[in-house]
């Protein structure tokens, strides 16, 4: 017979195949999406160009080199109003990072304590922690920031109350003063020779880590258990103390002293920083508490029982069995809470703390009229920060992930 009829009919390409044929459909959808997206961006850009032209503005970042002309009341690096806008932005970035790092540390401490205590058998403590967690999770952060700021400025004594016979007194052996002008803490004074102490201290931390590695290696190789706690503490503390006294105590503290109507000496932590720090930490701590609780609950009870059956003591069970498994559940959401805290620090605006949003994204924009460039830089800074942190998190996740099929 004819061989032509055996051959399957040659498919003829029809235009409707672009939608109905699964081979082409995804290409069609993607092309349409790409075209729409490009049209959208073209529309945005042409609008922006037209608007800028009609306002007589151009798009350049030259304003960053101009004199800023405004003061920043809390700066980690030397700054005066004669510096450039770029330096003001850097001061703001450092302030953001300062409150973010401080907040992450305190939030972790609070969160872990609250999370563990919420699982406590002690009814009263568990309920108290529930009240803390629910209270902070269900009330806006902004309200907490404003309330704590009001507490710091309205309910704390003014510096003159610290005078002899006044109603207020300093804390911790006359070294910390909590007043409505801010919290005054002792400042370290670095005399010549102090670098040696710091170097020795750093080196001994490295030494302690090395010792612990060595002890673990001995344990795994020979089964002999070297003491870890006391020796590593001694390695960290003793050499630094020795050098400290040998060099004639080169590091001392400058205590805040009341002079006239205000405190002199020491470091002044403004109420804006303290309020923002406390509010961010308490708020994020409540979320971290839930994460920690969920993490501990996620390790099944059989794991604990199995460890006990192997004859492990409770402390060791926690360290070697429960925590490694709980950490896998805890760490990813914990890091995203750190990210949230960092982004929430932009609420500094509410209390007048000079973070990057208030310098670069606030006063600089108002003074130079460069909204577009300023907001772009601000957005890029935050974006870069979160991409860095989430990149680190993804790396960690892929390292600790359980390997399945």
């Amino acid at each position: 017979m004819t061989s032509a009829s055996d051959r399957p009919p040659q498919p003829v390409f029809k235009l409707s195949d672009l939608i109905y044929d699964t081979r082409y459909r995804s290409m069609t959808i993607q092309t349409v999406a790409l075209i729409l997206l490009m049209l959208f961006f073209a529309w945005l850009i042409s609008n922006t160009v037209a608007n800028l032209a009609s306002l007589g503005k151009d798009f350049n970042f030259g304003f960053l080199d101009q004199r800023a002309g405004y003061d920043i009341n809390q700066a980690l690096i030397p700054y005066s109003s004669n510096d450039t806008h770029a330096r003001a932005a850097v001061v703001g970035i450092l302030n953001t990072l300062l409150v973010a790092v401080l907040g992450c540390v305190l939030a972790t401490v609070l969160g872990v304590i609250a999370g563990v205590l919420r699982l406590s058998k002690n009814w009263l403590v568990a309920k108290l922690m529930t009240v803390y967690v629910e209270g902070f999770r269900n009330i806006p952060l902004l309200l907490w920031i404003i309330a704590i700021f009001a507490l710091m400025t309205e309910a704390t004594p003014s510096p003159r109350d610290f005078r002899e016979g006044g109603v207020a007194s300093m804390w911790l052996w006359e070294s910390v003063a909590v007043s409505n002008r801010g919290v005054y803490i002792p400042a370290p004074v670095w005399l010549p020779g102090s670098w040696l102490v710091v170097t020795v201290f750093m080196l001994s931390i490295v030494g302690a880590i090395a010792y612990r590695r060595y002890a673990r290696k001995v344990l795994y190789d020979t089964g002999r258990l070297l003491p870890m706690g006391w020796p590593s503490l001694a390695i960290v503390v003793l050499p630094a103390l020795l050098i400290y006294f040998l060099m004639g105590m080169p590091i001392s503290l400058d205590y805040p002293v009341l002079g006239g109507f205000n405190f002199g000496g020491g470091i002044q932590l403004r109420n804006s920083l303290i309020a923002l720090w406390l509010a961010l930490s308490l708020y994020t701590g409540a979320f971290i508490a839930e994460i920690v609780r969920a993490g501990i609950l996620s390790v099944s009870k059989g794991q604990t029982e199995a460890a006990f059956a192997l004859g492990m003591r409770p402390g060791r069970t926690m360290n070697l069995v429960i925590l490694p498994q709980a950490m896998r559940v805890i760490v990813p959401p914990l890091i995203s809470q750190y990210l949230n805290l960092t982004k929430n620090s932009s609420l500094a605006l509410a209390v007048g703390y000079m973070d990057v949003r208030s310098t670069l994204g606030g006063i600089t924009i108002n003074q130079t009229g460069r909204e577009l460039e300023g907001m772009l830089l601000l957005g890029l800074f935050y974006l870069l920060l979160s991409l860095l942190i989430s990149g680190g998190m993804n790396f960690y996740n892929s390292r600790i992930k359980l390997k399945e099929r």
Binding site: A33, N47, K121, N122, I139, A350, Y382
Partner: protein, 440 residues
């Protein structure tokens, strides 16, 4: 024989009757046992209990007297102080809740005309009635038709203006549906959907505006128009929060599906959108909306700040919801996807019938948490000049009558937010329990 038996009987003591039940020892029963086991079972526990009691005492000793000596009727803070001095003496801490009694209308409604308060209240009632059948499946399904109409009704009652605007916008959906039905006869579902979207867009962009104008001239039915700048207080938070919640869920699900997609460009667009939105704080986006949007839109356009905020909040929450839903999609075992393919379901059907119901169920806690976060974040609009409760509390404090009043306002605002957010989280727990299919 019988003798010995009776002898033994008399010698042995065999109890013939039950002893009366006795109370357990005092330390092993009731409140004592509970206290001992739950609060004083070891030295650490005792320490924790004492610390907790101390903390509770410190907090309560500040708050309780302050609440107890509260003044509810006064015209200003100074008058509050006078009443306190007269009643309890000047060294007593006293709450001046008179500010709430005086200004609660402002904190709830902002500057909405006070003779029209029935309109937001009616809108709230419509909202509650509309949301009930969605939240609780036990209610009659016919109510869902009301839910579909509710957004237009609420818009009409809140802003007022001509009734024809909302009606014609709602008709756009009918136009789209009609186009879908007609085009569906000639082509397949995909093309019909495209035709429907285009038809609806044409209706909204070109037909709805002129028709509204003409119809309002012919039949001027409507309510007094209220400008957005008069909206404020909790009403504002509610409107922004609820619009954001309703709009962000579908968008977030679409973005999550886009991020899971194999199509390269769709995937990259979704990832880019999600990461850029999530990487930048909401407050920066709000400033973008208020400062920069005029650059991006055609010269001369100027639209409502509140609408801009709603759009920004929606986009922001959608990115977060997308990540939550993606987590749910990733948590489903691969077998579910493979089973859907093996049944021969196409992408839409497999998502609608198999994947999404399970994935969304897993993501409920995360989605509700995002909603709670969104609702709390509505307070940030104070920074771009909208008068949310916190903004109003600032302006109340700026008046001479109430200068220097803090805590009463904070307590009131915090309590209202707490009630809303806490009930949302309780509902999510209820829903989770109800949908749970294992370990019943």
């Amino acid at each position: 024989m019988s003798d010995t038996h009776s002898e033994a009987e008399s010698l042995l003591f065999v109890r013939n009757e039950m002893m009366p039940e006795r109370e357990p020892p005092l330390a092993e029963s009731g409140a004592f046992k509970w206290l001992r086991e739950n609060m004083f079972s070891g030295w650490l526990n005792i320490l924790l209990t004492i610390l907790a009691l101390l903390a509770i005492y410190v907090v309560l000793s500040e708050i309780v007297p302050w609440l107890w000596h509260s003044v509810w009727r006064a015209d200003s803070l100074a008058q509050c102080r006078e009443i306190r001095d007269a009643t309890w003496g000047s060294d007593v801490a006293s709450a001046c809740f008179a500010v709430i009694a005086d200004r609660w209308q402002q904190l709830i409604f902002g500057f909405y005309p006070s003779d029209l308060y029935w309109r937001p209240l009616l809108a709230l009632a419509i909202f509650l009635l509309a949301v009930a059948p969605v939240l609780f499946p036990g209610l009659p399904r016919a109510l869902l038709w009301f839910s579909a109409a509710a957004p237009f009704l609420m818009f009409f009652f809140l802003w007022g203006g001509s009734i024809w605007g909302p009606i014609l916008v709602a008709l756009g959906f009918a136009v789209g549906f009609a186009a879908y039905a007609i085009a569906g006869r000639f082509t397949g579902a995909g093309a019909a959907l495209a035709v429907a979207v285009v038809a609806a867009l044409i209706w909204w962009l070109f037909a709805a505006g002129p028709l509204t104008r003409d119809l309002s001239r012919i039949a001027p039915i409507g309510l007094t128009y209220i400008q957005s700048k008069d909206f404020g207080g909790f009403m504002l938070s509610f409107i922004i929060g609820i619009s954001g919640i309703i709009l962000s869920l579908p968008l977030g699900i679409l973005l999550a599906l886009g991020r899971q997609s194999d199509m390269f460009i769709i995937n990259k667009i979704s990832v880019g959108f999600i990461e850029i939105i999530r990487g930048v704080p909401l407050i920066v986006w709000l400033f973008t909306a208020s400062l920069l949007l005029n650059y991006f839109l055609p010269p001369g356009t100027n639209f409502d700040l509140m609408l801009r905020v709603i759009i920004m909040v929606t986009l922001f929450a959608a990115a977060y919801i997308a990540e939550v839903v993606r987590g749910g999609l990733a948590a489903l075992p691969r077998g579910q996807y493979e089973a859907a393919d093996a049944l021969g379901l196409d992408y839409t059907k497999s998502m609608r019938l198999i994947i999404l119901p399970q994935a969304l169920k897993i993501s409920i806690p995360g989605i509700v948490n995002t909603f709670i976060g969104l609702f709390k974040d509505t307070t940030l609009v104070v920074f771009i000049g909208l008068l949310d409760p916190i903004g109003l509390s600032n302006s109340i404090r700026a008046t001479t009558d109430w200068n220097g009043i803090y805590w009463e306002l904070f307590v009131f605002i915090g309590l209202l937010f707490f009630i809303c957010c806490f009930s949302m989280s309780r509902y999510s727990i209820y829903l989770e329990r109800k949908l749970q299919r294992e370990h019943r």
